[in-house]
């Protein structure tokens, strides 16, 4: 790695100074002259018919500038998944029906928050309550109330991109609450199970958790004199937001501009286009003034998106040596009142599981089910945490039953470089999975610490270790399918990079600057970054499919290479030396082997301006997320190319269980992440540590408390996230597998290390006290219950 001057180094982030001084501006920090405050009226019922909405008194209140209801956008439906098979199903504001507590009914814009709140209280809505359903299991029962009575097939949002459109048709009556189904089958399942020496089946259950970024959701909208909509939003991909907003509002794409704001954390929860964003835009148009809608913490938690409630059944057949012969998996998720990303998550539970272990025969079925609960969406890992929790808890039990060490069992089944994924045809061009497992076991003192606890001795504190592995993709074919970037040289030889990335904490401005600096041969502080603005930057993939560094990084690298090529060609003319004999670094083009024979970039650019018709030297680059992919893979069959590169991680937990109180303390969490190449090791470590902390929250303490559709802990006192005091010792290592498709060998890092934590901890708890927890979170009550049952059984 020493051949690099800028990448591979733990350099401080380029956005850090603005953030430690309070200068960094987020969507809720912007104040414009005449700006109004928007607020949303929401359904108090989980399922009801709207009989009437009367906004007349609110409209007459002094200080109210605009009121809107579902009537202002009748017929409009918006959704993250909007395909001919799964047509968009969410009206941004309800017209005749509300389907969950928090469903948007009306919105107002007023001079201040108090006036807006008063206006909401003056809106009269008459509801007729309908029977509701609150779990996937109940919603699947015959005769369950239908959350949606009709599908509304019509024009898919993807029609411009060649998605098979459907002619406008009448609403299609629905028969059940199945929002989406993925079914995959390959190999000879019956033969695989028949050949198995041992077969085991288990069921696991995961409670929904919240993204809970510190920044609440916010949007600011204003229309300029040309009729263009300008917005500051809390987003993860500005070009995706622009596309959907333009479609929803009936504008051409270039009539919408998203302007730069920093984003205060997202973790998947800010990619959808939300009713409050559409509401802010429409209120601003009605009022003729800028409108800001800042959701409260309660609204952010309960009415935007949350992670899924999931049940996983897994049955595996293995040979005597632990090699898998067949696997049958069924996943059921509660997707809430609208599809959200239900169709995606049931596809992903298959797709994130398959790269880990070699499975010769598989049946997989995933069901996403409508209920009258809040809507579910992608959260860091998007299905990988619960599928990996289930499968690796299950594999730990199989290892125990076969009398094989779990690490050995994992290594016997783990995939290698060069393997081709069934159904998608994706190839593992790099794969450091086995290296990661071995390194995590080594640093976690696996051999010394495993199976050391005596379950039958009545000690209060018992310790154990557990391990798990996981995989994650690096970008996928989804709008806008790729990224472009521009590198503009300045007279002094420095450069400005134009890339549409959104800096939401992941460090993209820094890593992309490092990529440009390295490729261009300039120091990092000679790079300026223009990002997060759909007018100022070329189109960009977004930071929501773990493709930020992989896809946009490649585009930036190509743009910098293009600028460098032009510098070299000009220098070649000036020095009268062949380009092949030149090298560019430290802002100087030199003749190879003749270190003193060279030209500074500033001199080359000046010569270019003088001699090449004022060419200031501008490089451009572009890269598609999956070059061989047509549009996107089939969510229902998992056929079609899906990603270019997979990241892998292995995670080992060491825990101490208090057998008196049931409390689990994580002492140490070792992660080895195969990120291909660490563009900035400090940022990679930060991503791993953040993943681990968030995952430990989900494993041990976090749970959205939903009762009959109502969130009972919609605040930061009752929804308890990990604090400094909950932080274990972390070892965060990297495996450099040098991905040939990635910029400088890099692949994903932001999501991978979230998904091995759950099973690692559950397996460590088993190792410590001999009880198997199959439901997350692993609360003291669950541990105590299991311990007392185990004790009763042994008597």
């Amino acid at each position: 790695m020493s051949e690099f001057a800028v990448v591979g180094k733990p350099l401080p982030r380029v956005d850090a100074r603005e953030k430690v001084t309070g200068a960094a501006s987020y969507a809720g920090d912007i104040r414009l002259p005449g700006m109004l405050c928007g607020r949303i009226l929401r359904s108090p019922h989980p399922h009801a018919r709207i009989v009437s909405v009367d906004t007349s008194r609110a409209e007459k209140l002094k200080g109210v500038y605009a009121v809107l209801t579902g009537r202002d956008m009748a017929g409009l439906r918006v959704a993250f998944v909007d395909t001919p098979k799964y047509p968009a199903d969410e009206p941004p504001f309800a017209l005749d029906r509300v389907r969950y507590i928090g469903d948007e009914v009306a919105a107002v814009a007023a001079v201040d928050d108090a006036t807006a709140a008063e206006a909401l209280s003056l809106i009269r809505v008459e509801y007729e309550e309908l029977p509701a359903v609150f779990s996937a299991a109940d919603a699947l029962k015959p005769g369950a109330p239908l959350v949606h009575e009709f599908d509304y097939p019509g024009k898919s949002i993807w029609e411009d991109w060649g998605a098979r459109g459907r002619p406008q048709s009448d609403p299609v009556p629905r028969k059940d609450n199945i929002a989406a189904r993925t079914f995959v089958e390959f190999g000879d399942l019956a033969k695989g199970f028949a050949e198995a020496y041992h077969t085991r089946a288990d069921t696991y259950e995961v409670a929904p958790v919240a993204h809970a970024p510190l920044e609440p959701h916010a949007a600011l909208a204003y229309w300029d004199a040309s009729g263009k909509l300008n917005m500051h939003v809390a987003s993860m991909g500005i070009f995706y937001k622009r596309f959907v907003l333009a479609k929803a509002l009936g504008l051409s794409i270039s009539q919408v501009r998203i302007l730069k704001s920093y984003v205060g954390g997202a973790f998947g929860g800010k990619i959808d286009v939300f009713p409050y964003e559409i509401g802010a835009a429409l209120l601003a148009r009605k009022a003729g003034r800028p409108v800001r809608i800042e959701l409260s913490r309660e609204e952010s938690l309960a009415t935007t998106r949350m992670d899924f409630h999931a049940t996983v059944h897994v049955k595996t057949g293995v040979r005597r040596d632990g090699t898998i012969t067949a696997q049958d998996i069924r996943v059921t998720v509660d997707t809430g009142a609208y599809r959200g990303t239900g169709p995606v998550v049931v596809f992903l539970c298959y797709s994130y599981n398959i790269p880990v272990y070699r499975v010769p025969a598989q049946r997989y079925e995933g069901l996403a089910v409508y209920t009258n609960n809040p809507i579910k969406g992608p959260k860091r890992g998007h299905g990988a945490p619960f599928i990996r929790f289930a499968v690796d808890s299950h594999m730990d039990m199989i290892a125990q039953e076969l009398g094989i060490d779990t690490v050995e069992l994992m290594l016997r089944n783990a995939r290698d470089r060069g393997e081709v994924m069934p159904t998608s045809g994706d190839v593992l061009h790099s794969c450091g999975l086995k290296d990661a497992i071995t390194a995590a076991a080594r640093d976690g003192d696996w051999t010394a610490k495993r199976r050391k606890s005596n379950w039958n001795v009545p000690e209060r504190f018992k310790r154990g270790v557990g391990i798990s592995a996981c995989s994650m993709f690096s970008g996928s074919p989804y709008y806008p399918f790729g990224s472009a970037a521009v590198v503009k040289m300045h007279d002094d030889g420095g450069a400005t990079v134009f890339a549409g990335t959104v800096e939401m904490g992941q460090g993209s401005e820094t890593t992309l600057s490092q990529i440009a600096a390295e490729e261009l041969g300039v120091p990092l502080n000679d790079i300026r970054m223009i990002s997060g603005d759909t007018e100022l930057t070329p189109i960009e993939f977004g930071s929501f499919l773990s493709g930020g560094a992989f896809v946009t990084g490649k585009a930036v690298k190509l743009a910098a290479a293009d600028a460098k090529r032009q510098l070299l060609e000009m220098a070649s003319r000036l020095l009268e030396v062949d380009v092949a004999d030149l090298e560019a670094r430290d802002k100087v083009v030199r003749v190879k082997g003749v270190p003193r024979h060279g030209l500074g970039y500033a001199e080359i650019i000046a010569a270019s301006v003088k001699q090449a018709n004022a060419d200031p030297i501008i490089g451009k680059g572009h890269h598609k997320s999956v070059p061989a992919a047509e549009l996107h893979p089939s969510l229902s069959t998992a056929k079609g190319r899906w990603t270019e590169a997979y990241g892998f991680a292995a995670q080992l937990a060491e825990v101490e269980v208090d057998t008196w109180t049931g409390k689990v303390r994580v002492l140490r969490l070792v992660t080895y992440h195969d990120c291909g190449f660490a563009l900035n090791p400090q940022i990679v470590e930060g991503q791993i540590e953040g993943c681990v902390s968030m995952a430990l929250g989900q494993t041990l303490q976090e749970r959205v408390d939903l009762r009959e559709g109502q969130m009972f802990n919609p605040d930061f006192i009752h929804y308890r996230m990990p604090l400094t005091l909950d932080t274990p010792e972390m070892v965060s290592g990297m495996i450099h597998s040098d991905e040939p498709q990635g910029p400088f060998g890099a692949k994903e890092v932001g999501e991978g290390a979230v998904s091995g934590v759950m099973a690692a901890v559950a397996n460590a708890v088993y190792d410590a006290v001999g009880v198997r927890v199959t439901r997350l979170p692993i609360t003291p009550a669950r541990i105590l219950g299991k311990l007392s049952r185990a004790e009763a059984a042994s008597r």
Binding site: V20, T21, G22, E215, G264, Q682, G690
Partner: protein
């Protein structure tokens, strides 16, 4: 009924007309344009709105503006003196203790208070002092490291004087 108050913020005095129900956070953000203190939860549970009142950390979302009158309010915007970062800010930048940055202003001010009263904190004391500031991005590892580094530098600077 609105009241006339004087707020002393970052060394500057502001004459303000405020409703007694307005929080210090509202007034800082909406009337003074100081948006460094963030609204994370509105309940004093996350620490993103932390400011210092006469040197003591306070949740600006739970403090009424009228209560803060006649006290010295320090917000994150007032911490760097003459453009030079405070050692805590510097250490946060260098150690990778900043990700999305939304918790950072409150985290930095809580850390500064700790180091003002305890120049050589043990890791447990750092954890304790920052336990009221939630960070969803970093997993806290680099934040705790940054505070240790800042403490060491501040001690070195103090002993050099």
């Amino acid at each position: 009924m609105k009241r006339l108050i004087q707020l002393h913020v970052n060394g500057q005095t502001h004459d303000l007309v405020v409703h007694p129900a307005r929080t210090l956070l509202d007034v800082l953000r909406d009337q003074l344009g100081l948006t460094g203190a963030k609204r994370g939860c509105g309940l004093g549970a996350c620490g993103a709105c932390t400011v210092l009142l006469d040197g003591r950390p306070a949740a600006a979302c739970l403090t009424l503006a009228v209560e803060a009158a006649d006290q010295e309010v320090l917000t994150i915007e007032g911490l760097a003196e003459g453009g030079a970062l405070h050692p805590v800010q510097e250490a946060f930048v260098e150690s990778g203790a900043v990700q999305c940055g939304f918790c950072t202003p409150g985290m930095v001010l809580s850390a500064k208070t700790l180091l003002d009263r305890c120049p050589d904190p043990k890791p447990e004391e750092i954890r304790e002092a920052l336990a009221g500031n939630v960070c969803r991005c970093t997993g806290y590892v680099k934040i705790i490291e940054a505070v240790s580094i800042a403490a060491r530098r501040m001690r070195e600077a103090a002993s050099g004087n």
